[in-house]
């Protein structure tokens, strides 16, 4: 199965999730009803003198339809209300909301500590290798060894790592863990887990309500308010128990949906890094470490399914029940000879060794470029969301080739803006003059100076480094505040429009940057799947392919008619001709991409395949074609590893 297959499966899992959720609501309604009945009976027992029982209900009738409906309605309201609220906050905050909820603090992209730097480098390498925007990293101040990835789309995804993992894992082990998390992003697990967290919140809320009732009783006793019905206390207690049942059911759902995905992510991590030892040793560290992968945080329960290892240890977290498969089994699937013995982890020895290593190996030499043969559309398609060690090597090479000064600029929110401006400035003298004038007016004068400063370095970048630079600036730009972001967005817009025409590169850059930042500053949230049939999307595909064909073959006489019709034939029967220029402007392209992103993964696969076919028709990918292809893959949220361009 490939990327699209996994995405599709994750989508189906969401349907399973909804079904389980409905069953859970029914079960909980019954349980709450039971709690109310028992509460009423016990209440009557305490207050025999009272005229009527609690709620005017007498214990003679065990089954009261009216009461049941009331109770169900109330439970339903609480659960749905709670879930709706959580889904709302999550879709506003994206992965950042989860990280912050868990007490994570954002690791500045410009952090200088050797261990912090090592972590940021590992994440950056992996992101560039897989064609994802570099995600912001959050640190959880926890001594357990754990990590997570959360977010609906690649642009609002964040990576969280515990302090314990940063200090106790070697670089290879850390890489294995991060690769595991990345594969959750590729497989659509992160998005599904976000939805799951939103839904399940309502279920666990019942236990909160129970706690609320119990504490209310206490305050009223202190105020000597004798009017509190002991029945309420009992109901509170019972609600709490019911709530706990809810929590257990929620965990069952998590287990049903996410447990298998952990094995999958482990396997993908091995494939990605081609280093089974990395992830296996990380798991062994967890096994031999006193703190294991435990997270001590009041919100850890809600988010337990996000983590790399078991975040919770509780009475029912035995192997067959937990959200994660047992460590021994996970290791055995990577290392079949594993005997199940964990060596005790000596915290001092490990952390000082890691610190020394991290300080020493800042410039790890990476081998030579690995030769690819990527001109085959099938091969490229197979790479989507499935980067191999070659891509990782390629990414290391890209990062190594990036001049140190540019890297420094990219990692700081202040200068990262200058790097983006510099990327947009034209090499043509006349254009450049106009653009610089516009920039001087719209941007901060100091940033303008920084832009002039970095401009020669950015211009000297070879073409293969330009788009990776766009990925690299992302975490730093996401550190801006809202007003700073708005100013930045305005300046970028002004810079692009300065010459009254939008070039393909300007368009690509703008689209990618703003889309990515939208995950942080705009509304994130899951992309709704609206289109299930290719037929409804044919006009959009026509726009896409027309532009691609014209970009690659515009100079030639046939104007790309052949690759266009061949690619189009892959999508639908019948004759389709290329669109006129006025029907296929960049604005049309933009709209088409937005709509195509709402297609099912299967349809996206077809579209991407057709696009690839259109591009490699003549056996090579030109720079412009490569850029356009990247924008398309990006617009469809399909992480495409760096391609070698001719």
């Amino acid at each position: 199965m490939n990327f699209f297959g996994y995405q599709e499966k994750a989508r189906r899992n969401t349907a399973v999730l909804v079904a389980l959720f409905i069953v859970a609501i029914l079960l909980i309604s019954m349980a709450v009803y039971g709690a109310v009945v028992i509460g009423a009976v016990v209440g009557q027992f305490f207050f025999v003198d009272q005229q009527s029982g609690l709620f005017g209900y007498s214990s003679n009738q065990m089954w009261n339809v009216e009461l049941f409906l009331w109770v169900s309605a109330a439970t339903l309201a609480v659960i749905l209300g709670g879930s709706a609220y959580r889904i709302h906050t999550l879709s506003q905050g994206g992965g950042t909301a989860v990280a912050e909820m868990l007490g994570g603090s954002r690791l500045p992209a410009s952090a200088k500590g050797p261990l912090d730097r090592r972590l940021l480098n590992v994440v950056e390498e992996m992101a560039i290798a897989s064609g994802l925007p570099v995600p912001p990293v959050f640190i959880l101040e926890q001594s357990g060894v754990n990590a997570f990835a959360a977010g609906f789309t690649p642009s609002d995804t964040v990576i969280g790592v515990t302090r314990g993992a940063v200090e106790l894992l070697s670089r290879d082990e850390l890489q294995g863990v991060i690769a595991h998390e990345f594969s959750h992003i590729f497989n659509g697990d992160s998005a599904m887990k976000m939805r799951m967290m939103g839904m399940l919140y309502g279920i666990t809320l019942v236990s909160d309500a129970g706690i609320g009732l119990l504490t209310m009783k206490r305050t009223s006793r202190y105020s000597r308010d004798r009017g509190t019905h002991p029945g309420l206390v009992v109901i509170g207690l019972l609600l709490f128990i019911v709530g706990t049942i809810g929590v257990v059911i929620a965990d069952m759902i998590k287990r049903a949906v996410s447990r298998q995905r952990e094995y999958l992510a482990d396997a993908a991590a091995v494939q990605f890094t081609r280093n089974p030892e990395g992830i296996a040793n990380a798991l062994k560290v967890i096994g031999g470490y006193k703190q294991g992968s435990k997270i001590n945080h009041h919100s850890a329960g809600q988010a337990s399914h996000f983590f790399f290892g078991n975040a919770l240890k509780s009475w029912y977290s035995s192997d067959w029940w937990a959200t994660h498969p047992p460590l021994e089994e996970r290791i055995r699937r990577i290392e079949p000879g594993f005997k199940g013995r964990f060596n005790k982890v000596d915290v001092k020895v490990r952390s000082s060794a890691n610190m020394a290593q991290a300080s020493a190996d800042f410039m790890v030499s990476s081998g030579d470029r690995v030769a690819h043969s990527q001109v085959n559309p099938e091969a490229v398609l197979a790479m989507v969301g499935n980067p191999g060690p070659e891509s990782l090597q390629e990414a290391k090479l890209i990062l190594k080739k990036m001049p140190a000064r540019v890297t420094d600029f990219a990692h700081d929110p202040y200068t990262a803006r200058a790097a983006v401006y510099a990327l947009l400035i034209d090499s043509d003298a006349v254009q450049r003059k106009i653009q610089l004038q516009v920039l001087e007016k719209s941007a901060d004068p100091n940033v303008f100076r920084e832009t002039l400063e970095i401009l020669p370095d950015v211009e000297a970048l070879s073409d293969e480094l330009r788009l990776p630079l766009v990925e690299m600036v992302m975490p730093a730009l996401k550190e801006m505040s809202m007003p700073q972001y708005q100013l930045f967005k305005k300046s970028v817009g002004a810079l692009i429009k300065a010459d009254h025409q939008v070039s393909l590169f300007e368009f690509s850059l703008y689209r990618m940057v703003i889309r990515r930042l939208n995950g942080e500053f705009g509304r994130s949230g899951a992309i709704e799947v609206k289109y299930h049939r290719m037929k409804t999307l044919l006009p959009q595909c026509q726009v896409l392919l027309t532009l691609l064909a014209r970009t690659g073959h515009g100079v030639r006489e046939d104007g790309g008619e052949k690759p266009f019709s061949e690619a189009m034939a892959m999508l639908a029967e019948g004759e389709h001709s290329m669109l006129e220029r006025r029907e296929s402007r960049l604005s049309h392209f933009d709209q088409a991409l937005i709509q195509l992103n709402m297609a099912t993964p299967e349809l996206k696969e077809m579209v991407l395949k057709a696009a690839l076919h259109c591009v490699v028709c003549n056996g090579m990918i030109s720079l412009k074609e490569g850029e356009l292809l990247r924008v398309i893959a990006d617009g469809l949220d399909c992480p495409l590893p760096p391609l070698t361009m001719a």
């Binding site: 005017g56 609220y85 200068t415 700073q484």
Partner: protein, 195 residues
């Protein structure tokens, strides 16, 4: 029975509403605390650069030991203030103390820079020029990060004072956060720095 149900319903609603308020404030608080991390990185960089600069300048400034000592002392004080502030970015007192210390450091640096005009040799030194340039750029980064932090603090403080949040903020322990505002060191020119 209906009355009880209504009371119960209102109660549940209230509890939920308070949870919403609480979560919203926690989120905003986390935001500005996270924004402080960026200031932290830049200030550290700045505090690392200053001793280098002073060390290099010493050779030229045999007779200006006072100014140099002031710079170093102000830097040490600011660094101590930063350590406290970065441990608790939500402590208004710590932020104000840091802002004060930063103001003093700015004044001391201004006096130091004035010396560059008086000693052309100093100004001509390659290392000094490079370090000064880097320091200026770092200061710009500091002020950018400070702006981001202040934006987030403002969002938090505004939400904190909005009705009905303001009814609960005291009870839940959401204190007002302080803006990180450094007085413009230009005003302090030629003012003797005292400790």
């Amino acid at each position: 029975m209906t009355a009880l149900l209504v009371v119960l319903g209102v109660l549940v609603f209230l509890i939920l509403y308070v949870i919403v308020i609480y979560n919203r404030l926690v989120k905003l608080k986390n935001r500005f605390k996270n924004a402080f991390a960026q200031i932290d990185v830049q200030l550290k960089r700045r505090y690392d650069l200053i001793p280098n600069l002073v060390e290099t300048a010493k050779a030229y400034l045999k007779h200006e030991q006072d100014t140099l000592t002031h710079v170093i002392e102000a830097r040490n004080q600011a660094m101590a203030a930063m350590k406290r502030a970065s441990a608790h970015p939500d402590d208004a007192g710590a932020i104000k103390a840091l802002a004060g210390a930063e103001g003093l450091l700015g004044g001391a640096m201004l006096n130091f820079n004035a010396l560059q005009e008086a000693y052309p040799d100093l100004k001509a030194d390659q290392t000094i020029a490079q370090l000064s340039e880097e320091l200026t750029s770092t200061e710009n980064k500091v002020s950018f990060a400070r702006q981001a932090y202040n934006d987030e603090v403002m969002f938090y403080n505004t939400q904190r004072e909005t009705f009905p949040d303001t009814l609960f903020t005291g009870m839940m322990g959401f204190k007002e956060a302080a803006l990180f505002e450094v007085k413009n060191p230009e005003v302090k020119e030629r003012v003797e720095v005292k400790f």
